[in-house]
């Protein structure tokens, strides 16, 4: 059964600013990391080979941990923000 517009308006959850910040920050971090790798940026490579002397590896692993932490912090937060994601749509209907 198709869902109605009213149902949409009643049941759309509000997404908090925290969700947008987490999404934007993780995307920007990934973009920066990938571009830096692609141009072999100096801050990605240490002068010597060694245990995580290679900063590309160290930064990559740090990024993995940061993303997991962000998802845990947001995903396990107790409250669910209700309503008001969007309220119109095809009003011509």
């Amino acid at each position: 059964m198709e869902l109605s517009l009213n149902k949409f308006e009643q049941e759309s959850p509000r997404i908090s600013w925290m969700a947008w910040i987490v999404s934007i920050l993780t995307t920007l971090a990934t973009l920066t990391f990938f571009v830096a790798l692609s141009v072999n940026a100096t801050f990605m490579t240490a002068p010597a080979v060694g245990a995580f002397g290679n900063r590309a590896l160290a930064l990559g692993i740090a990024l993995l941990f940061a993303m997991v932490l962000a998802v845990w912090l947001y995903g396990m937060s107790a409250s669910t923000r209700e309503d008001n994601v969007s309220s119109s749509g095809d009003r011509e209907r």
Partner: protein
């Protein structure tokens, strides 16, 4: 019977038992498509991770390390990049609005059967490309493991996946994913421990040994071999960040839990499993460089790099570990292709047949019957695609669907959820533009145009056109929505003029 055969046969028997058990619980359409929303967040999280942790991830990422050194970190980090976006922006609203497919959620706001045609086209394109990468990996593995010809291997896989989906539906697919994700994680952990033990549990020794395989060790530190430049880097980053939130078989899993909060929690568990797996893959990737290329098995011929992880297992644990890892990889592929086949089948029987062809007048019995036929057809198509693309890097093929998903499904889904002025016409135009530009750019890029089609120079100099296709989809959706909107804001605009 060798260990590989025993494990593989054991897995097949177990999964067929799960399918038999599930078949009695998959009689209605909702049971077949969503397991009646009876899956717990933890189970769903592990199954989600299972959907994402394909053999292409396992074999392709270690192959990327093996072939390109440190650049393999692209795939290891990228594999996790999309989960925060999916968790924060998509999971809850989608579960709240939809019932079976994400087209249901879009239909909560937009209308018309054309919308379902567009979402089905995107779903079938994404799943088709992803299925291809899985089938190629499976063909190589079975050929290596059982010495079965590539073609027969694909037929075997096709037959099993059709059985799982046709009789077990979402419930069987979910539990097969759980079993497979557990097997894959445990096996990867075992290999990781063995690699680290080889280097006295010293990451420094591991990295030094990997770098030592290069004629000039400092070459090991040099990045940029896997990706040709910043344009491709941005394209790949955007595909990884937004692709998972647009993958149909991932989105479909949000409907297998009882409520939006459970959907969000599922993603937390999935993210944790994927992150743990990728950390272990970094160690295994370095291990393949350090041990495989300089070890007793020597260098691989081109095309065999995809089996570097399996060869590493052979080097570490002899034929027993080789057999275990190869069998687990095969099980992984089986589970993933089952999930992809179910998503494709649902698009055909639920979105296309029920809402487009029968205009929501079909019976449940009819819909289930169509889903069985669609499963057969999609299984046959997957085998055919696997035969055509057997010589491609499976890691690269696994990223293609991400580009399509990030350019067609993701922008329309996010606009539909968060932008009140999106209209059906805008969603349709944006979705089709994103789909067409992403597919076209992949075809015209170096990997397909020169390596598959054999042309001298590619039309486009980059492989990952996500920035352009995503921007085009968003721009067109917004523009057409403004032009086609007849709501109150447009009236006000007309009055102001």
């Amino acid at each position: 019977m060798n260990p590989a055969s025993s494990i593989f046969i054991g897995f097949v028997v177990l999964t067929l038992a799960i399918t038999w058990w599930s078949s009695g619980r998959s009689r209605t359409a909702v049971q077949f498509y969503t397991a009646d929303a009876s899956i717990t967040p933890l189970e769903n999280g592990i199954a989600l991770a299972g959907d994402y942790l394909s053999a292409a991830s396992f074999l392709g990422t270690t192959a990327a390390f093996f072939s390109f050194g440190i650049d393999g970190i692209y795939y290891a980090v990228g594999a996790l990049a999309g989960w925060p976006v999916a968790t924060c922006l998509v999971a809850e609203p989608l579960r709240k609005l939809g019932r079976i497919t994400y087209a249901d959620a879009l239909s909560a706001k937009l209308q018309g059967p054309q919308l379902r045609v567009m979402t089905s086209a995107a779903t079938l394109s994404i799943c088709g490309a992803y299925l291809t990468s899985q089938m190629v990996g499976a063909g190589y593995l079975v050929q290596s493991l059982f010495h079965i010809p590539y073609t027969y291997a694909l037929l075997l896989i096709g037959g099993l996946m059709i059985t799982y989906v046709m009789f077990g539906g979402m419930l069987a697919t979910t539990w097969i994913q759980i079993v497979k994700a557990s097997l894959l994680t445990v096996t990867t952990a075992l290999m990781t421990i063995l690699v680290l033990r080889h280097f006295q549990f010293s990451p420094e020794e591991l990295v030094t040994a990997a770098a030592g395989t290069r004629s000039n060790p400092s070459d090991f530190l040099r990045t940029g071999g896997l990706i040709s430049g910043p344009t491709d880097a941005v394209g790949l980053a955007l595909a990884f960040s937004f692709g998972p939130a647009g993958m149909p078989h991932v989105l479909m899993r949000f409907f297998t839990v009882k409520d939006p909060q459970s959907a969000r929690r599922s993603l937390v568990y999935a993210t944790s499993v994927v992150a743990l797996f990728q950390l272990m893959i970094v160690v295994l990737g370095l291990g393949t460089i350090a041990l495989v290329s300089s070890g007793p098995h020597g260098s691989f011929a081109i095309g065999d790099a995809n089996l570097a992880a399996v060869r590493l297992a052979q080097g570490l644990g002899g034929d027993v570990l080789f057999g275990i890892v190869a069998a687990v990889c095969f099980a992984t592929i089986l589970a993933v292709v089952a999930g992809l086949t179910l998503a494709s089948t649902t698009a055909v029987s639920h979105d296309l047949y029920r809402y487009v062809i029968r205009r929501n007048c079909s019976t449940e019995r009819e819909e289930i019957a169509v889903s069985k036929v669609a499963t057969l057809a999609i299984g046959a198509l997957a085998v055919g695609l696997g035969l055509i693309c057997r010589n491609q890097n499976v890691g690269f093929l696994a990223t293609l669907p991400l580009v399509i998903a990030a350019s067609s499904n993701f922008p329309i889904l996010v606009l539909a959820i968060y932008w009140p002025r999106l209209t059906t016409a805008g969603a349709l135009a944006g979705g089709y533009v994103g789909l067409a530009t992403s597919i076209l750019s992949v075809i015209l890029g170096p990997k397909v145009w020169t390596q598959i089609l054999g042309r001298a120079t590619p039309v486009l100099s980059f492989d990952y056109a996500t920035p352009f296709s995503l921007s085009a989809a968003l721009a067109v959706a917004v523009l057409i929505s403004f032009l086609s909107h007849t709501g109150p804001w447009r009236s006000r605009l007309a009055q102001n003029r």
